[in-house]
Symmetry: D4
Subunit: 250 residues, 8 copies
Amino acid sequence: MEAKKILEKVRNGEISVEAAEKFFRQKPFDDLGFAKLDTHRKIRTGFGEVVFCSGKKDEHLQQIFRKLAEEEGNVLGTRASREQYELIRALCPDAVYDSLSRLVKIIRKPVELRGSVAVCTAGTADIPVAEEAAQTAEFFGSKVNRVYDVGVSGLHRLLASLDPIQEANCVIAVAGMEGALPSVLGGLVSNPVIAVPTSIGYGASLQGISALLTMLNSCANGIAVVNIDNGYGAGYMATQINRLACGKER
Amino acid sequence: MEAKKILEKVRNGEISVEAAEKFFRQKPFDDLGFAKLDTHRKIRTGFGEVVFCSGKKDEHLQQIFRKLAEEEGNVLGTRASREQYELIRALCPDAVYDSLSRLVKIIRKPVELRGSVAVCTAGTADIPVAEEAAQTAEFFGSKVNRVYDVGVSGLHRLLASLDPIQEANCVIAVAGMEGALPSVLGGLVSNPVIAVPTSIGYGASLQGISALLTMLNSCANGIAVVNIDNGYGAGYMATQINRLACGKER
Amino acid sequence: MEAKKILEKVRNGEISVEAAEKFFRQKPFDDLGFAKLDTHRKIRTGFGEVVFCSGKKDEHLQQIFRKLAEEEGNVLGTRASREQYELIRALCPDAVYDSLSRLVKIIRKPVELRGSVAVCTAGTADIPVAEEAAQTAEFFGSKVNRVYDVGVSGLHRLLASLDPIQEANCVIAVAGMEGALPSVLGGLVSNPVIAVPTSIGYGASLQGISALLTMLNSCANGIAVVNIDNGYGAGYMATQINRLACGKER
Amino acid sequence: MEAKKILEKVRNGEISVEAAEKFFRQKPFDDLGFAKLDTHRKIRTGFGEVVFCSGKKDEHLQQIFRKLAEEEGNVLGTRASREQYELIRALCPDAVYDSLSRLVKIIRKPVELRGSVAVCTAGTADIPVAEEAAQTAEFFGSKVNRVYDVGVSGLHRLLASLDPIQEANCVIAVAGMEGALPSVLGGLVSNPVIAVPTSIGYGASLQGISALLTMLNSCANGIAVVNIDNGYGAGYMATQINRLACGKER
Amino acid sequence: MEAKKILEKVRNGEISVEAAEKFFRQKPFDDLGFAKLDTHRKIRTGFGEVVFCSGKKDEHLQQIFRKLAEEEGNVLGTRASREQYELIRALCPDAVYDSLSRLVKIIRKPVELRGSVAVCTAGTADIPVAEEAAQTAEFFGSKVNRVYDVGVSGLHRLLASLDPIQEANCVIAVAGMEGALPSVLGGLVSNPVIAVPTSIGYGASLQGISALLTMLNSCANGIAVVNIDNGYGAGYMATQINRLACGKER
Amino acid sequence: MEAKKILEKVRNGEISVEAAEKFFRQKPFDDLGFAKLDTHRKIRTGFGEVVFCSGKKDEHLQQIFRKLAEEEGNVLGTRASREQYELIRALCPDAVYDSLSRLVKIIRKPVELRGSVAVCTAGTADIPVAEEAAQTAEFFGSKVNRVYDVGVSGLHRLLASLDPIQEANCVIAVAGMEGALPSVLGGLVSNPVIAVPTSIGYGASLQGISALLTMLNSCANGIAVVNIDNGYGAGYMATQINRLACGKER
Amino acid sequence: MEAKKILEKVRNGEISVEAAEKFFRQKPFDDLGFAKLDTHRKIRTGFGEVVFCSGKKDEHLQQIFRKLAEEEGNVLGTRASREQYELIRALCPDAVYDSLSRLVKIIRKPVELRGSVAVCTAGTADIPVAEEAAQTAEFFGSKVNRVYDVGVSGLHRLLASLDPIQEANCVIAVAGMEGALPSVLGGLVSNPVIAVPTSIGYGASLQGISALLTMLNSCANGIAVVNIDNGYGAGYMATQINRLACGKER
Amino acid sequence: MEAKKILEKVRNGEISVEAAEKFFRQKPFDDLGFAKLDTHRKIRTGFGEVVFCSGKKDEHLQQIFRKLAEEEGNVLGTRASREQYELIRALCPDAVYDSLSRLVKIIRKPVELRGSVAVCTAGTADIPVAEEAAQTAEFFGSKVNRVYDVGVSGLHRLLASLDPIQEANCVIAVAGMEGALPSVLGGLVSNPVIAVPTSIGYGASLQGISALLTMLNSCANGIAVVNIDNGYGAGYMATQINRLACGKER
């Protein structure tokens, strides 16, 4: 924090008490009334603010995207419906939509892809969540390798695809139903595995709770878990790790 | 059922109405007052009655073992404490106890071991449940191969031990924590896999519920599940399958 | 595994190192990009790959069916909607659909039915799941007897239908609500019972969790449980057992 | 309520306003400070107050028993430890204890047993709860028939014992593990069945939750359920029903 | 059972062995193929079979109603949609429908109402379940008093309506949300209370699980519980109790 | 209670016994048959009766609103759909509707706003529940400050908005997902915090159960919790507290 | 916050930049290494810091009590065992212990009791939690009325004790098992009710979860809930409310 | 993998087919009979095998420690009781024990500490789990900063300790009860946060499930979660991340 610098300026009369207090209080966000946009977030964390679209009111969504596009250039929206995308595109014609991952993207400053993140799925039904993870990681500058449909009940498929997984700085393992993929991967790689349970399954899968519990109880080392279907969260954290491995200069 | 034969004897006057009714009503068990021993069970199913010792009153336990030993020769007791074993041994000096599986056995008629059942565990802590399964299967005449500590987070250990597993008529897969072993085995063998979740683990393992859910949600084929820590149930069903494979003549 | 044979051929110069490595790595599946079809599965396990249709993308579903029909002749699809069936039929005109069980079948090589599997239900609402089980078993070559609406609250109906149940190599017991049927059957038969909880019921049935717990806690012997509504899994395992009983030559 | 009579007496000057208000407010219990004994309960409901001993402080327990024994003659205490019984006996030497059901009883006025209640258990481990039910019913004047160890996995034992069950005004069905006994009984009798789940079992029995769910979901008619291990509640309600059937003159 | 009489007839040659065996086996139901109608149920229990309509196939529903109407005269169907009612009315024009309780009734033999059952609700949203209970009890011959909207958060409403409740042979207490009504009623009446949790509520009401737990844990005496929203089951059991109180001659 | 006064009037002959009894029994509500309106509630508690609209039958809803509007002047309806509002407006043209909070209001007597309640949300998706709370508090006479989108993952936004929160007599903290806002607020204010979990979130948020548990387990002091999405309940209790702080003269 | 004042002093040279920064950073707690005592808490909130004793290491507990007693005079410790009390008394001989509530108190500055809080329990087993609440409220200066053993299954006991409850500024309602007391109280009083579920009960009470759900789902107004057995939290919040009602000058 | 190299040696006759097959099969572990020690683990992953002591048999534990100490030099054991430590020390006199974290360590090769990991706790009761994390990270070569007792209900304590947290390559956030610490930290740092729920709490904390859910639902970015009380897992993964940040040369 720069508290000390501000205080020194107050003492030196460079800025007024009121300005200093305002600095402490109001600086780091834009207040739209209904929302408080964290426009200094990128400076603090190296990641711009991302919009969780689901459930947002139409006019709010539009204002948020326009504001962020103006201030940040690149904007990422998650869990967007096609209807929401059309609303956004009306204001930001360069917005693009991926119906599989339900991501909306505005890319005005090209992003260089670095390092290596592997995104794996157990089955084909896990691919939408995996794509949310993969494209989030790419949005933030990670190079991504996709290895899909390598669930543990057909082990030969996984063993035949190990190279990109073992070479990644971070592995994202996406699985529903019994959710065993991260445990097997955890024993085969030396870098961290981020496990993403999906709500794929039926009956006792309990909408992903079963896979979530499996992953939390893994006896393999180097595994941590995010919320059910939270591909975005996995892609974000994988990028944090990938950046650390690449030397962080972003 | 032999209902028809009895009815013909009634018509022919070979047995009285009262005897027939008694036959229909009272035959197939010994009523000890507090319990009704199913001494005709072996004839009906090929398996003698087994005693679940835990929670039985001392004198009841003793009477049940003595009665069954007299009538059946071989007796199996599950979930027995050492104290209970001492009580049983006081009346049946040839009873033996295995403290790992907590089984009490009386073997007065030797049992020939046939066919092949594989019993696998994910970790070393699962061995007590696995031994309950293995020794139950042996008590009922199955030849058993033990393959222990082959959990999925160290896949090379499992792959190095596949032969006895792939050759078995039935595989018992015992695992706690994330419980992923049956899913991996299900993809590697062609015969049925009986999955036994164990209460091994901590935190979100929920005393075995996590492993149970994993196994129920397995996307591998040919897997069915028994109750948490129910090694006995797995050993029993594996024997049923093994006998069918051996031609059932027992 | 045939690892040894390959290695001997390498030593003898019959195949190159590169070919051998490729064999170890890439052989046992067809990679469609989005999915990895296990076309060697039938050789390994005696069962061809089955398609879980629910949630598959339209074009993926079509490609998978066409590929499997070409390579295997007979194809089974589970949990298919009528819309999905129409898509499949557009490419494979000999596909047939059963709206009760939601199975799609292509049968180009006739299947001989052998042995005996009994499929029982507690109520009439359990029949769709039972049909998934029964037709799966028939697809893989098991002769099936159906005994429906014999729930335990009307015991005389069950007792009047015991013969085909007691004679089966394996019994599938399908029940929702309180799920007590497998426990009663387990006491009446000598061969294995596969219990299938269904999501039939309301209130405290918790979408099948109640029936599932009942079945896991059964004090009858010889019962194992599959996931809620998983008729397919039960039919598959029943066939494994039935084949073992028939002598396995398939 | 006798509100009207009191009000008439107020108008007639037979009792004062203060007395009437006191009547409305303070009559129907003895306030011991820490507890409010409902000594008018027997007049209102035909059942005296019963003491739930577990967790009561020693001196409180003693005072409550002495007070009730003085005022009511007969006293019933449930869930009493032997230590608690010794404390009670120090003040009430005619108190008796049943270690199986954990009931303490003082009987100073003999109770005539009438009508018929059947108490059934699935296994021998359910007997303690069944005895709590049976002896509670007897304490309140019901004639009881005990039918123990007739669980549904050995149906012939149940069918051989039907007479006393079918003749009872009310059946209490006590079962742990899968808890299927009430469903089967519900289909065989015409009078009400009170189902008592017990905490007997392990693993997925969840301390009786599994049996409780089974019973709530029973598709048999005429079944209602009390709390896990609540033999007392079942015995109480069975007596209410039995009294109605006997003509209620008690 | 009349087993003995049949056996005597066999001995006397009055009926053949085959007829006797058939009697034991096939008598008590009509097998429609997809369902086994229990047409002897009324003789055994005094209650005809009732049809749970929800989920039945259209043609099955029609056949079942026609068959039961022919054989029994009066028929009750529960959980029927208006569409199902129209199907039934096409075959049985005298069928009537109550959209609140979702019951379909055919009454060809008038029913005399006897005794007294009180049906209470906590709120107005619980009325549909209460009507299912009340009309079921009336269908089976019980006189019913309805006391609605007397939840415990407005105690004066309940206290002002006590007379019909305290005079009933059996009280049905229907409540969602916190489900406290049965506890309060249990302390105010001397006859049994059947508690019916409803799925009314939101958030932590968990679709009725909260009310169900409340009722199971009631510290009032004389309360037993049926499944969530199971008005039918409560009306059935209340009738059993009411009949016992009326002297059972029906 | 005024019991004493009534009784004195009875003694003095000022009112008859019948009138007194009627007073005790029937006074405090209007019985519409299907519902019992608590029209004396405002006298007893200072708050008029509020209508929970969801699930009410159309004609019932109309009658209730008309009756309450006539007797109380101001009426509040919660969880109303727009369709329900149109029905109400047909009879009460001065009814107004807020689609965000789903409240219907009739205000015929102006309400003076006093004291201070702060309503905070963690995110923008929590605003509908917050508005239900805020407008309920306003309906009952509390002055409200709204502080929205100050979730704990962007702490600077919360710290910049502390003044109205710290000055309030009561704080309502509305949050879904992890529900951490009340804990942080609890450490920053000296007056009570009412925590409202919302059903906002996905996966392991379990429709608000996760946020509910978080709030119940808060280690901050001065926090109590209402049901998931229960903005109304929070606004009601905040007003109770605010009135106490203002001196209660309302 | 006094941020502005500090900043003005910095500008005026009254304090140095370093001092100001230190003020912002280190002022409000004493860092003992293993714990950070919030010794300015009383100034901020009017309540001193309270020690949750359970699980604290012996030497830590002693240091914390000594430090707080020196700085604050009065100290309250919750969930203390007798052993922990002995340790504390060794350093602070004026500490007193209440074994029922498990509170340790040091009172060096007398506390004046003001206002009115009512603490009610459903049963006698709830008294320990109620005493934790009552004595906490007294420690912080609230006058408390105790009304114990007034559960809803014996309504006359509650109605006879209404006066102190209806006059209180805040009511604490403590109940286990079905937890219905707060709902009934909520309908009888005009001030807030803080509901405290207790872990009293068995079986489906689920260690207090059942009572907790009941309270959260209460349809009475003016009820909020704290964690299971959290008497301390209820006493704290009741005092906040009571102080607001008394005019807050403390 | 070095598969290719081995295959080339086979072709060149440098090693025999049998040796190659043995290499593929048996190399990477030491089979002790009851356990299969993964002694090549360090080569594959950079982390030696760690012993989960809890539940291990005494003689097994001793053998495993002796073997690993001989082969690896440094050994870490988790969840060890003091009794187990004494057994280990009997064979390995240089073993040391930390009773807070329950870790046993043998350090024969000094470890250089690099990079930076911050370990934070919400309360003092979370310290044992935090120490397991911190000492695990140190065992594997990470430099650790401990920041304890900075829970969110006293935000000033956290804000005063931000520097070491914001500078770490990875933050471990350990919290029980409401588990809100990771959410607040996630908004304040730019590197990954590993959240560790602890079983600290009571009532609705559900032995850590509440904290676990909070952390999974965090709306802050860059958070992933491990199992309840799994300090070891967090320390392991933090080291993986820290090594990547340091350039991985270990």
